[in-house]
């Protein structure tokens, strides 16, 4: 693997800093974005980033970023960060942790431009009768992290990603479906996505929805598929379990949380519900082995058989709450590390989908979504199904037109009465931080069944 970042520059910054705590991150990123709109290429961008950030804790916190990478600028950055750290009146601390030196990465094959073009045009041709947009990205991110407590971590992570939005218009009506595909890894993952199969399926389904979609029942049992339950795990368990939200640090932006330290150890969900977050899953979109504070990552159990087990922590939030970091501090290029998820998922249960449906007299099965949102305490959530089916007497009995579930988080987690065996992961870009840091995660889910729900 081709590690290129200059250790000497980072060590120089550490040596000249007089503050209690300092960390320096050098980052290099090479990225290619391609966008195809209705078969026509509208963007082909190559980005090369090289910059450094310095974070100092000395009373308050100071942060400096520059993409002018030189000794002079590092010196200026250290001086500025030291000065800025002393402006704040809030006392900031960092939890005591084991510092490590580590180096890791993923070897990946990069595709040539002709290979990418051929692939994207082949995907586009699958749905050329419809309005469509494809957005493809590949990137390689190298980071070098050092801090004044002895940590030194090098990483080199490639990622590949594809998004599409498909619009089908018939009989004067339109329906839309979007999907995302992504991995930590190179071009070889692309063929495994089987995007062409999803495109064919979606075009056919949206046409059927326009022609045959029916009003869903107003009340009944609801089964939600892995794409939707993965999003729910992320939005209503992962986000509210981020300790910086619980402490109010994101209150004016991404919001607060229903959770508080008193929730730890409490029964929160039905026994068949367990939620984990694991950055170390090989090839996953949210993959990492050390977080952006140099802490070794592992699987975090957020909810285990209905009981709240742990929140997501950086060193700053762990210090505030008197615990240890669980390596959830992440940063995007040029931004401060903050508490983030990685790959958050409902853990598998005992049911297969046939068994779940068998026991449903009337209800809906929601497979994909378009519209969704949640309040900033992470309590009041809404999901609207796009691919969705009506269930009657244990069998699929038609296509449901846009069934909507609006439910409180507390009701949702208590109402789940069956969890499926079928764990699936979906890539996503999670937004949080100010300035906004869109970071790679995956949302993982299994089929979940909820009894006696209001369906809108």
């Amino acid at each position: 693997m081709d590690f290129q970042l200059d250790e000497g520059l980072a060590e120089y910054g550490l040596n000249i800093c007089r503050a209690k705590y300092v960390e320096i991150r050098l980052e290099r990123r090479i990225r290619n974005d391609i966008m195809l709109v209705n078969g026509v290429m509208r963007d082909n961008n190559v980005t090369e980033n090289l910059g450094f950030s310095i974070r100092v804790v000395d009373g308050g916190m100071g942060f400096y970023f520059s993409n002018i990478v030189s000794r002079e600028e590092i010196k200026r950055g250290v001086e500025r960060a030291e000065k800025m750290a002393r402006i704040g009146s809030k006392k900031v601390g960092m939890s005591e942790e084991r510092m490590e030196e580590g180096k890791y990465g993923i070897k990946a094959r990069e595709a040539g431009m002709d290979e990418k073009m051929e692939y994207l045009h082949a995907m586009d041709a699958e749905v050329s009768d419809h309005s469509r947009i494809f957005s493809y990205t590949d990137e390689v991110v190298e980071k070098l992290y050092v801090n004044s407590e002895g940590s030194k971590i090098k990483s080199l992570i490639p990622r590949t990603y594809l998004y599409y939005l498909l619009t089908v218009s018939e009989e004067g009506k339109t329906e839309q479906m979007n999907r995302e595909f992504g991995n930590a890894g190179g071009w070889d993952a692309v063929k495994e996505w089987k995007v062409e199969e999803f495109l064919r399926h979606d075009a056919g389904f949206l046409s059927d929805l326009i022609k045959h979609g029916e009003k869903p029942p107003e009340r009944g049992d609801v089964i939600m598929g892995p794409q939707i339950t993965g999003l729910i795990a992320h939005e209503s368990c992962g986000h509210p379990f981020e300790a910086d939200r619980i402490l109010g640090r994101e209150a004016a932006q991404a919001g607060k949380s229903y959770a508080s330290p008193a929730l730890l150890g409490e029964e929160f969900a039905s026994e068949c519900v367990s939620v984990a977050d694991d950055p170390t899953i090989p090839g996953s979109y949210g993959y990492y082995l050390y977080d952006d504070e140099g802490i070794r990552a592992g699987k975090r159990m957020l909810i285990e058989k209905g009981i709240v087990r742990e929140f997501l922590h950086s060193r700053e939030t762990a210090y505030e709450m008197g615990c240890s970091s669980n390596a959830a501090a992440r940063t995007t290029y040029g931004k401060e590390p903050i508490v983030r998820m990685a790959n958050t998922y409902f853990m598998p249960g005992d049911y297969n989908i046939e068994e779940m449906m068998e026991e449903v007299k009337e209800g809906v099965y929601m497979v994909t979504f378009m519209e969704w949102n949640i309040d900033d305490m992470r309590i009041n959530q809404k999901y609207v199904g796009e691919e969705a089916y009506i269930i009657k007497n244990g069998e699929v009995a038609g296509i449901a037109r846009h069934p909507a579930i609006e439910i409180s988080t507390f009701d949702f987690y208590r109402k789940v009465d069956a969890a499926g065996k079928n764990l699936e992961f979906y890539p996503a870009t999670c937004g949080k931080g100010d300035p906004m840091q869109g970071i790679e995660v995956s949302t993982g889910g299994v089929d979940l069944r909820l009894r006696d729900m209001v369906i809108k």
Partner: protein, 421 residues
């Protein structure tokens, strides 16, 4: 550098040098102070119908040459793209510039004054300031420079199971108002001790923070790129009614105190005022040179070279006082702020958005009590067609959730679908 670029059929160079500072506070205390130093270049190269775009940091001649070498290798393998550089050099520059926005002492003083004005224990937010120098050069012979400043203070307060949020935005630091603290507190008090409410149709008043979110989304939908890509319900509606006759929306790149105002767009075309909606009728999409050529019109000076976008959005229309608006409502809701505006179908405008700060029930012309757990679940075009009036005051709104600055008022909208969990 220009001689190197002559072999291309078209090119655009956009260089930027920017310093940004931020003060972040929560729990009533300043926690972090940040600074970003950013030198960058966007380089668009066009030859034989093919377009490549390079983003280069801390640019110099060596890096530009490297990008061109890469272009030589890649050009034969990329698919054709449409590319037209817009024209229009009628530069107007009446906008404010204030280099003092970056003075940390002044920023800190504004933050602390606003926290004092809020007079609440739980206060959180952020203050940003920035100064940028930009330079554009293109193959049509345009060379131009511009400099801009901007600042905003965004403050949220919490009290009695309610919250309020207010912002102050300007190109000058002295215009950043400490009043945002008191304004956020008043919004929190309006929604205090909230109760649940029945779902159904309500007449609603969207406060400027909430209305700005809707208009910012509408502005994004007016981009010709969004229209072409399936991200807009405004497709094929030029000349049609898309809003109430009581509402006009225009985009302005030349607004004197608009924090996104620019002398020229990313292609070097002069920015201006572009009517998007006049008295409810859709008049224009926002264009760069390429989308303008594809649609057979002139650029509106809104490049983004890949996708045109608004600069600052301004609303105008039938004006009433806030008091008159409230008096005219028999059964209604006032919403201080919204977030998570999400679309089920971009091409129809079916959407929902979650009330976030200071929501209250209005009955028989009076604000009665705080309410919670509501969301607007409706269609954006239908909703804007039911807009009846705007309040007399207008305020520039920009914060974390609102993509483009909006000079927004309170908006009275009849018969909006409200749902609850």
């Amino acid at each position: 550098m220009i001689s190197l670029l002559k072999k291309y059929d078209g090119y655009v160079i956009l260089e930027k040098e920017e310093t940004t500072k931020q003060i972040k506070f929560y729990g009533g205390k300043i926690e972090t102070v940040k600074e970003w130093k950013d030198r960058s270049m966007e380089l668009f190269l066009y030859r034989d119908g093919r377009l490549l775009n390079f983003s280069i940091e801390n640019p110099d001649e060596r890096k530009v040459k490297k990008a061109m070498e890469r272009a030589e290798k890649v050009f034969p393998h990329v698919a054709p793209s449409p590319f037209t550089i817009g024209t229009g050099k009628n530069y107007r520059n009446t906008k404010i510039f204030d280099a003092d926005v970056l003075l940390e002492d002044k920023m800190k003083e504004r933050v602390e004054a606003a926290m004092t004005a809020a007079n609440k224990e739980e206060v959180a937010g952020v203050m940003y300031s920035w100064v940028e120098k930009i330079r554009v050069e293109n193959s049509l012979g345009v060379e131009a420079e511009d400099k801009n400043s901007g600042s905003y203070l965004s403050m949220r307060v919490f009290d009695a199971k309610s919250s309020g949020h207010a912002v102050s935005c300007s190109r000058s630091i002295d215009a950043i108002e400490e009043e945002v603290g008191a304004e956020a507190s008043r919004m929190a008090e309006m929604g205090k001790n909230p109760e649940k409410v029945e779902e159904g149709k309500y007449d609603i008043i969207l406060a400027p923070m909430a209305f700005a979110d809707i208009i910012s989304n509408f502005g994004a939908f007016s981009s010709a790129f969004a229209v072409d890509a399936g991200y807009s319900f405004l497709r094929e509606k030029i000349g049609s009614r898309v809003c109430s006759e009581n509402l006009s929306i225009y985009d302005s790149g030349v607004e004197r105190d608009g924090i996104f105002s620019r002398k020229f767009d990313d292609e070097g075309v002069a920015t201006s005022e572009t009517p998007i909606v006049e008295k409810g009728i859709l008049k224009n999409y926002l264009h760069n040179g390429t989308t303008a050529a594809l649609h057979g019109v002139r650029s509106t000076g809104n490049a983004g070279i890949v996708a045109p976008h608004p600069w600052n959005l301004v609303v105008e229309g039938e004006r009433r006082s806030m008091e008159e608006m409230v008096e005219e409502i028999r059964k209604g809701i006032i919403i201080g702020n919204v977030w998570y505006t999400r679309f089920h179908n971009y091409s129809t405008g079916d959407f929902s958005t979650v009330a976030r700060d200071g929501a209250a029930l209005i009955e028989n012309g009076e604000i009665k009590k705080g309410i919670k757990g509501i969301r607007v679940s409706d269609n954006m075009e239908r909703m804007l067609k039911n807009l009846e009036a705007l309040s007399k005051e207008r305020k520039q709104i920009y914060w974390w959730e609102t993509e483009y600055p909006v000079f927004a008022s309170h908006a009275l909208i009849r018969g909006v679908n409200i749902t609850t969990a």
